[in-house]
Structures are given as structure tokens and as C-alpha cells.
């Protein structure tokens, strides 16, 4: 769990987001997208605040947050690494690349490096199968990977 403390300015930000969707409970997913966009993740207090604004139980919000893999309750690293584990990448050796990232960063999938610089996650198909295996770091896509390129790529950050 995070040590996130909700400040008044945060409450204002969340309120503005909810207002922009007319505080419609049906817009919960859009609200969460926007909110995660602002905070980078969805800590407990943020979810409570969203629930409060949309007038729905926080259990519902949490139920939705934990259902969708896009939403996260943990802060990501400064550079979020997402390795594609789609089929095309899988048959072209994405697992080996993943192992190399784990080795180089010293973390497991879903973790953040101690310095907060990198986080490592997997996702399913970014649709760049022509470049398989593919990794996303932030918004940048690196394609046609093999384990030997991992160190070099990380050195850019």
C-alpha cells in the first residue's frame, strides 16, 4: 500500500474530473482513466474520493479497479516498462527478453526498482506484431528485440 495522502488540491482535481462527466456513475471507467492520468495510479483515498463524488459505494469502485488490468493501485516507475506477451511476441521469444529485463533490473513483474526509476509489467499485444518481440518504455516502442539488446535499451534512461 502506498503512503499517498490526499490533499485539498487533489480533491479539487478529482471533483473537477467527476464534474466533467456530470458525476454520472456510468462514467466510472472514464473517470478512473482521467484520474489515473493525473495521479499515475489509483490509491485508496483517491478511489474513496471518486466514490464520494459519483455517489457510489467505494467497494464498487474498487471492484472495477481490480477488474481491469489497466488500472493500478501501485505507483509505476518513472519509466514504465511494458513487455508485450502477445502470441506473436511469445513465439518470437518474448519470454527470454522478459527474463533479461528481470535480470537487468533485479525486479519481478509488477514491481518497481528501488530507485523508482523503472517498473516492469506485461501486457497483451500492442498490435505491433510485425516488430515482435516488442517492449514499451513510456510511450516509446522498441521492436525486434532479443535479450542482448536489453542492456543497451536500458542504458538510454
Amino acid at each position: 500500500m502506498s503512503n499517498f495522502k490526499l490533499q485539498d488540491c487533489h480533491k479539487k482535481q478529482i471533483k473537477d474530473i467527476c464534474d466533467s462527466f456530470n458525476n454520472e456513475p456510468g462514467e466510472l471507467i472514464n473517470v478512473l482513466h482521467k484520474t489515473q492520468g493525473v495521479f499515475g495510479y489509483l490509491p485508496e483515498d483517491v478511489q474513496r474520493e471518486v466514490a464520494q463524488n459519483l455517489n457510489i459505494p467505494v467497494a464498487k469502485v474498487y471492484g472495477v479497479v481490480t477488474f481491469y488490468s489497466f488500472f493500478t493501485m501501485k505507483p509505476k516507475g518513472e519509466h514504465a516498462i511494458s513487455l508485450c506477451l502477445g502470441t506473436a511476441c511469445y513465439v518470437r521469444g518474448a519470454e527470454l527478453v522478459l527474463d533479461e529485463f528481470k535480470k537487468q533490473l533485479g525486479i519481478e513483474v509488477g514491481q518497481v526498482t528501488p530507485d523508482g526509476k523503472f517498473s516492469l509489467d506485461c501486457l497483451r499485444c500492442v498490435g505491433a506484431c510485425g516488430l515482435a518481440p516488442v517492449v514499451l518504455i513510456g510511450d516509446k516502442v522498441y521492436g525486434r528485440l532479443d535479450p542482448s539488446k536489453v542492456k543497451e535499451i536500458l542504458a538510454n534512461y
Binding site: 485508496e44 478511489q47 474513496r48 466514490a51 464520494q52 457510489i56 459505494p57 467505494v58 467497494a59 464498487k60 469502485v61 474498487y62 471492484g63 481490480t66 477488474f67 488490468s69
Partner: protein, 587 residues
Amino acid sequence: MELIKLTIDNTPVEVEKGTTIYQAAKKIGIKIPALCYMNLEHLGIENRPGGCRICVVEVAGRRNLAPSCSTSVMEGMVVKTNTPKVLNARKTVMELILSDHPKDCLICPSNGKCELQSLAATLGVREIHSVENAAMSTYRKDASPSLKRDMDKCIMCRRCETMCNEVQTVGALSAVNRGFMAVVAPAFEQDLVKSPCTFCGQCVAVCPTGALTEVDDTNKIIRALADPSKTVVVQTAPAVRAALGEEFGLEPGTRVTGKMAAALRRLGFAKVFDTDFAADLTIMEEGTELLDRISKFLKGDKSVKLPILTSCCPAWVNFFETNYPDMLDVPSSAKSPQQMFGAIAKTYFAGKMNVKREDLVVVSVMPCLAKKFECQRDEFKVNGNPDVDYSISTRELAHLIKMANIDFASLPEEDFDQPLGESTGAAVIFGTTGGVIEAAVRTAYEIFTGNKLNKIDFKELRGLEGIRTASIDFNGTMINIGIAHQLGNARKLLDGVRSGMYNFHAIEIMACPGGCVGGAGQPYHHGDSSIIEARHKALYKEDEEKTIRKSHENPYIIKLYEEFLGKPMSETAHHLLHTHYFDKHKV
């Protein structure tokens, strides 16, 4: 109504359009096994997520099996409910469910009452294919003063979620996570006490396994009874007598008041009292408060809050403290019968018996799990000593009786002890929806009008519909009454009051379906709502058979006021019998 013809297991059947295969089969005596499906038809509550896939049947021409609970019949449909394919599918699915379920049945609180357990026996599961290192979905355990959650035993039937959200609109529980780790939990999988849970316990009442159970206080009772320094007295709520018999194989609706008193005496309680006595007392206080507010209102005092809301139901109290913190001055300030009893027992009765407060142990037997939470509230303690020490459920009492080798069936009928054992018919019907307000009306009418009632029964206040309204003629003054049971209906009623749709003088609210007869501490109904209806009828029957049927005519109540309290709403009464509410807003 359009009729549909089909055959089920070679038997032709004709049913209304829109009927499910499950219901059609039931009509011709075929009971298709089901697990997640639950239909409390008398109460309009249905849980049909189609998740367990146990109730599948074969339908000719369909490529896969059909879930009978949610497949509507079609003209000419040919259904088979017991082919090898169906039986294998059910057994395999059950085996899967069991493969992710703890195997501690022998020591599980639901042992013997578990629907999963009996279904596994019915389906003939004899082994579970072992997969090396097979994962089990396990979760943090959680215990509140009322409920325990052991979600390792959850089978995702979603009944609790339906009760908590759709029926009660409490919103404490939601399905969380996804896939194998999907489970029903409060937000952030935290403890229930941090959630907006009201401890109504309806999740427990419908849980088919041991995932949700009450906190078991039976051992505390056994220890207290064995302590020679303690005087242990017991009070039993009205709805208990209409349901306890079920635990001993008696027909639902069998009243066991006398046997229950006998059993309690044999368990070793120094005095066997009745919460009904306190119910009569509640009417004196709440009825007076009602009349007080109405009179002031009629005189034009605009500071008076109307409608007055009953406050006997502890889950309801929790609900409005959490959801309507702006309306804390609206409900009656009268304590619930359980707490009035405790307060009187530890003052008036303790004084009579010359027992120190600390040495008097008050136990309550309740159809309710929220009562466990209620008796632990700080405002109901004096120097840390609670007015009611322990609250146990009907099920726990049955368990105590069994543990103590008491053969319930052969017990004689015995009476309650005095002075806190006498009650009227008005008190008895507290245990069902509409009963409190009927009891209040009986007394308020006579006090307000100064006339005797010709007809004691107010049938217009009775029934099992979720929201009921009635106008009672108080000799020219029409008193408008609203009644709701189930918190979702309460919310609707209250929102209606807020929006001006309703204009009531008094509202009775009970959290559980059918009122206390459908309380979460009662013997499990296993989805059969006719059981709740039978208990409901039994209480009116008991009322009918009582000689005294109006609370203000209870001689021991009259005596209590004479000897101790003075008059209703007196300073002593206020101090002992009234309470105040807190803002406990949570999302």
C-alpha cells in the same frame, strides 16, 4: 397469458411464457440441483448470476448445456435433466469448486448446514483429481463484532453481493479482482468495520457455505453460566420463538415459546426473561414520543421533526448513521428493546435482586446479528460494563441446547420469570414487519383519543410487500404511516420523504426481509421464503392468543413506571431508555 408446452424428462408440462426450465421442472416434481441460484419469491428477492453452472440440463438441438435457472422455456422444447452428460458435467463442475475449497468441513461453522456440502453428497463426488501444487484462492480473514468472513470458502455465488447491494443497498460488498482470485469483499479487502456495513447479516443468511458466518459467542455463555460469582439472566426476542423449533426438526412456523423457556432454564440461566417485556416498554417510550411530536406539530410547532422513525432495528440504526447523517434527529430516540431490557435489568432488576451491576450478566437471544454489534456500542456501557453482555443468535441458542444434551422435543412448556418476563400481544408482533408500528398504534390511539379500541387488529399494516403505507383514523385526525422492510426499501421510502413524495407521521423500518422473522440469526432458510412467511404468521397467531394485546396494559410495565421510572419520557426514563445517534458517514 401465453402457455408453452414442453417435455422434461419425457414428462409433458405446460407453463406460462417466461418460465425458466428450473421452475417448470419444479412444477412436475423435478428438483434440479442449483447452487448460486436463490429465489425468495415471497419477498421478491432473486439471485441469478448463472455462475455456478450446476443446474445445467440438456436441451435437444442445443450444442452446449443450458443453465436451467436462467433459460426460458420454448414451445416444443425437449429437456433432459439427468443424462450421463449432464451428471458428468455437474459432478465435474462440483469437483472443480471443491478443488478450490478448504476441506475442513468437520470443523467448519457451517458443518451440517452447508449447501455446498450437501450438494457434493447429492452429486456423488467421491474424489477430486489432484493437480500437483494446485493453487487455492486464499484471502485475509476478517472478523467484526457480528460477522466473520473466511473467503477461502467463497464459491462466488454472489448471493451476499446481491443482498448487500440490490436488496439492502448498503454497498459494503462488491465482487473484486478477476479470474481465479475473484471474490466478494469490502473495498480494498479491508475489514467490514471500516466499510459501510450495517451488520444486518443478510449476507450470512444466504451464504451457502461457511464463508460468511456469525461470530460464535456460545463459549462465552457457557463460561459465564459456570461462574458462581455471576448471576446470568437471559432475554429472548419475539422472532426467536417462531423459528427455534426448525433447528430441532419442527415445521417452520411452530411456536416453541414454552419449550424455549424450559430449555433456557435447563441451561442454567438464573432468570429466563423476555425481550417482549422491553418491547412493551419501547412502545410506552416511542409511542409517547410519537404523540408528543404529533401534538406539537398539530399545534403548529415547526421545529418538530416528522415523520418519526422507529429505532428498534440495530442494522437500520447503523444504516441511517452511515447514509443519512443529516437526519440524525428524525428517528425516535428510544433505545431498542434489547438495550432497554439491558438498562432496566442492570438497574431496576439488579437493585431488586441486590446484585452488583458487574456481577449481573445479561444475555440476549436474538434473530439478529447486528444485535451483537449493538450491545457493544460505547453509549450502551456504564463504566465499560455493557447493559447487555452477550447477544447470541437463534442458531447459537439451538447449538447451546444441543451441546447441553437437552432433548428439545420432550421438554415441557414453561413460563418466563417475572418481573421482566410478562408481555402483551403487541410486543410479540415486534418480530415481524409492520408489528412495531401496529403495537405503537394500538397504544397511541387509546392515549391520543382517550377511547378504547374496538378492533385491535390493524390488518392494513400487515403483509410482506417491501413498502406499505396506510392512514389510520385517530378519531378524525388521520395519521399517515409508512412501513418498509429491507434497507433498499427503507432508502426508497426515505428518499420519497425527502423529495416530498410521501407525507408520513410515522415510519417503521426493519432491515431484514420480513422483519426479524427473516433475521440473519435465524435458522437458515436455504432460499425457501415460505419459511419466513410461516414464522410471520406464527407471530400474529401468538398475538391473537394473548389475553393482553396492548403494551400500556402490561401490568408489569405499569408497575415498572410506578416503582421506578415515573412516567414515559421522565428524566429517569430518558436517561435509561433513550439514546442519541452519531454521524458515521462512509462510502
